[in-house]
Symmetry: C2
Subunit: 571 residues, 2 copies
């Protein structure tokens, strides 16, 4: 279910940048890029080595080699540490804190406003249950991890490690839902799931184990289920846009791309400007009565009239999921050549304060005085709920520290030295601005409690605006097929009139793929590229489609367009 199941569909497509790392001796096991073998480059005390600041940073440009940049930024930025089981990664504290921020916000929405309750279902699913619904199991069979041994004994019946929990949860639904009075039943769990994929892994974006929430609800009516699907999608959109500052497009999946067994799938679709590829961000499915029929989840129709035969209703079900992939999308969207840029609302540390202006002539007393002022500023900011860190490390120069915290993406730096102290100000530096002059500012000490939260909010909204502008610029509306592939190649996704036909979609995918030319060393967009698939039918439809008149964009298709559909190469 949810986006991760769609991740799987992409797996036949190789990342050009990853291809060059591919170990041809072992096709079964995904290999981490070789760079992981290098020990993480650690800041060295200044006095030991006069290393340039650049050495601790990213040594490749995001625009030149995105794959290498990504690997460096997640490891040097301390988001991810590699691990000795392929396709699995360690979520370090700084990235886990982002997940906790997402969790806290979303959990509160679904509990307080959605009346959803959290629960926990076992990680193991019996083969009997997993295989109960053929269509479902077929979607996952190739990637299910099986536990076959306990200690040294073979298990009589192997158990599956959950790839998703429909088959773990719906027998419980059938047991608990005995009457329409038991509806709606709304459960959610925050857990880990495993999909033993054999293709190229990518930290956050595609891994064998990932964290997510999976919501599963049952309703008496289709109308009620449908309303919830959209409510959840709104909250997913808020997680991306309001917390992660990542723009998304809301829409419905085409028949080709919907969750198998669902009535329909709604989705939010993101975009990675650096590659021009779309990325599924989160999905909210209306499952209709498909699963309730298979799992026999029925209630008596409350509208049955006395004396007449009792009618039964199969409940209407939804499922919806949001994963740690979201963190990867955030990193790919905002990061730059200096490292990560974390939006303030989800940053574990929002502000770092660095004492500056200490020289060989500074007396110990003056230094102590400055440090205590820095500590006081931190306390002032904490009193208005800002997450602050102070950096008093003696072994490092201010410049080294600036680079170090920029690499980690801390949204705002405050510098404070004797001159600032005299002027009763702090010097600020925004991480999101490239231009040094635009990044820097000055805030009066007396204004800290109002000005710094406001500045953080500006950073948050400016980050979104910048990313949103990039997405809008690269979401190109076109109607003529001859523009389709060139526009894709220009790192865009395209909005085109389409018939919504499945075969036509397949044809477009085929026609827009660029075949392997045998040169696997290419890392730019001249490399072989996957075909474009439909990302969604956006809820927001432009004008311009006249039923029975506007043609489908595919020149080989005889049908008229039903709607504007977003197509793109994608993750």
């Amino acid at each position: 279910m949810t986006e991760a199941s769609d991740q799987m569909k992409d797996l036949s497509v190789s990342e050009p940048a990853e291809k060059k790392e591919k170990d041809k001796k072992d096709k079964k096991e995904p290999k981490e890029p070789k760079q992981k073998q290098k020990p993480v480059q650690k800041p060295k005390p200044q006095q030991k080595k006069k290393e340039g600041a650049a050495l601790i940073g990213i040594d490749v440009s995001k625009s030149v080699d995105l794959a290498e940049w990504y690997q460096q930024v997640i490891t040097k930025g301390q988001m991810i540490s590699y691990y000795d089981v392929a396709g699995c990664y360690i979520l370090e504290p700084a990235s886990y804190a982002i997940w906790e921020a997402i969790k806290a916000w979303f959990d509160s929405q679904i509990k307080v406003r959605g009346k959803v309750r959290n629960a926990y279902f076992p990680i193991f699913i019996s083969a009997d249950n997993l295989e109960r619904e053929k269509e479902h199991v077929e979607g996952f069979a190739a990637e299910v991890a099986w536990v076959t041994k306990g200690g040294k004994s073979d298990l009589e019946k192997p158990v599956a490690v959950r790839p998703t929990s429909e088959t773990a949860m719906y027998p419980y639904f059938a047991k608990k839902i005995q009457s329409h009075r038991d509806l709606p039943l709304k459960l959610n769990q925050w857990n880990n799931v495993v999909r033993w994929e054999f293709k190229h892994p990518m930290p956050f974006i595609r891994s064998r184990e990932f964290l997510w929430q999976e919501g599963h609800t049952a309703h008496l009516t289709k109308k009620e289920a449908a309303a919830e699907v959209l409510q959840i999608l709104d909250w997913y959109s808020d997680v991306y846009q309001e917390l992660l500052a990542v723009p998304v497009v809301k829409g419905t999946k085409t028949e080709n791309e919907k969750f198998p067994g669902a009535d329909y799938t709604t989705t939010i679709e993101g975009f990675i400007p650096a590659t021009g590829r779309g990325i599924q961000a989160a999905t909210s499915h209306c499952l209709g009565q498909h699963f309730s029929k298979m799992f026999n989840i029925i209630v008596e129709d409350p509208t049955t009239k006395e004396g007449s035969e009792t009618k039964h209703i199969h409940v209407w079900q939804n499922s919806w999921g949001l994963t740690t992939r979201s963190i990867g999308v955030m990193i790919l969207t905002h990061g730059d050549d200096r490292g990560l840029i974390i939006p303030p609302r989800v940053a574990e540390i929002q502000v770092v304060i660095i004492p500056v202006g200490i020289t060989a002539k500074t007396t110990p007393e003056a230094r102590e005085q400055l440090y205590s002022e820095v500590t006081w500023i931190a306390e002032v900011l904490r009193s208005v709920d800002i997450r602050v860190e102070t950096d008093f490390r003696e072994a490092y120069s201010p410049g080294w520290k600036f680079n170090d915290w920029e690499l980690k993406g801390i949204p705002l730096r405050i510098e404070f030295g004797p001159k600032d102290s005299e002027k009763h100000v702090v010097t600020t530096s925004r991480r999101d601005r490239d231009n040094k002059d635009e990044a820097r500012g000055e805030t009066a000490i007396s204004d800290l409690k109002e000005a710094i939260p406001a500045l953080l909010e500006s950073i948050q909204s400016d980050m979104f605006k910048k990313a949103d502008a990039a997405y809008r610029e690269h979401r190109v509306t076109l109607t003529d097929w001859k523009d389709f592939v060139p526009t894709l190649n220009g790192k865009n996704v395209v909005l085109v009139p389409h018939c919504e036909g499945g075969k036509c979609e397949d044809e477009i995918k085929e026609m827009s793929a660029r075949k392997d030319d045998g040169d696997n060393t290419a890392v730019d967009t001249k490399a072989p590229a996957m075909g474009a698939k439909s990302l969604c039918i956006p809820f927001e439809q432009p004008e311009g489609i006249t039923p029975g008149e506007t043609k489908c964009v595919n020149p080989n298709c005889k049908d008229f367009a039903k709607s504007w559909v977003l197509f793109g190469r994608s993750y």
Copy 2:
């Protein structure tokens, strides 16, 4: 590590009450009690069947058949639902909410006061890493679940499902800790772990998958590590005593019972009055340098003098864990023949308000009026952060509802009818009091905001006092061996002078066991009983042991007593 590893040590001991359910055809797979096959008894609308209220409740007394009582109270009280993989259970929303309350409190302590950061390490551990430390792997080898297949392919290298994360985490520690400046490193994760046990499972208390937190920290000095061990133990004690209203005894494990590889293990030990057995509640270990030596986690000694040879220090490590077992201990401690009793501080619903006094003569207007007053009372209570539920279900009588919410353990019931409305009061009923008159009270509407929170706090502290008194009463100090077994048989744990010798402990265990008399149908304490093991050396030591003079309680032991040691049969 932590208590769960000690759970395993108990597994050779059969629960008498569970024995009768044992399926002798299949010794490998633990079987759930047969009762699980019965569909959960659901409240039936009153008009359909004139069932007595008792039918929805527990139909066995806690004092007569604890195992059957426990099974009924966790399923009918909607804490646990059985599942089709043996030894795995569904944590229903009401129990998961308790876990969330524990998590919120403990997480805040370790983050804010302990400066611990959360992270997430993969669920899979390579065989290479798992087997790196022989002593460690030997402790877990028999219960490790192995994934050997992905889809239809056999994995080249099977991977272990984590039984605990030392071997997943410490290679990362070795990588991240390069200098004393990187210390202390304090990480924690909230996750699921799996121990594929082949013995009798018991929901919450012993299951194949359970939820816990595992903290892993590294320090420069032994002193710093030792201080943290005790700080964590204090917080564990607070979780039990302040949140779950469950008394515990703090102490140190004997050499026999400590975590293998640890310098020492500190523990909090609980007590189940109904069986007279001790239960390990949570443990905080000082691992010393044992693991850092195996995983090569070293730093340069910061006290090395310039010019002299650099000395290296192996870091000092701790690990500490608290599991969902805590919920089971809480249920076993407080529950009664009417069902669960949840302490207010962790209850998902603290107060339920039930409209009463509606008769056939009540006009629809009067009923609406009453309902709106009930809704208003709920809002008043919510405004002071009380978690309130209102029960307007039409199909059930007030009496039925009383029983239903008592079964679920809601700490306080408010009844509100036309007479209460006239008097401007609400009628209260405390779940923790057996006696109806003692349970009931009246609160003026005008006092709600102060009186109800205060009443909930009284319930919380009275629940603790009652449980604490029971534990104190059954913690019997004795010095004469002839009293040892009879005192155990009287459902007590015993505090005895002991030499702290391992062999002597084994002998006591042997001497205090009651052998199987072949009658497996017995369910009370006359059944075969395990021997007593040492639970802990309590921090709080009574007077009375004179070194070189006081004898060890074991008559066959020639040594003098070193301390008062708590012994007991245990879970």
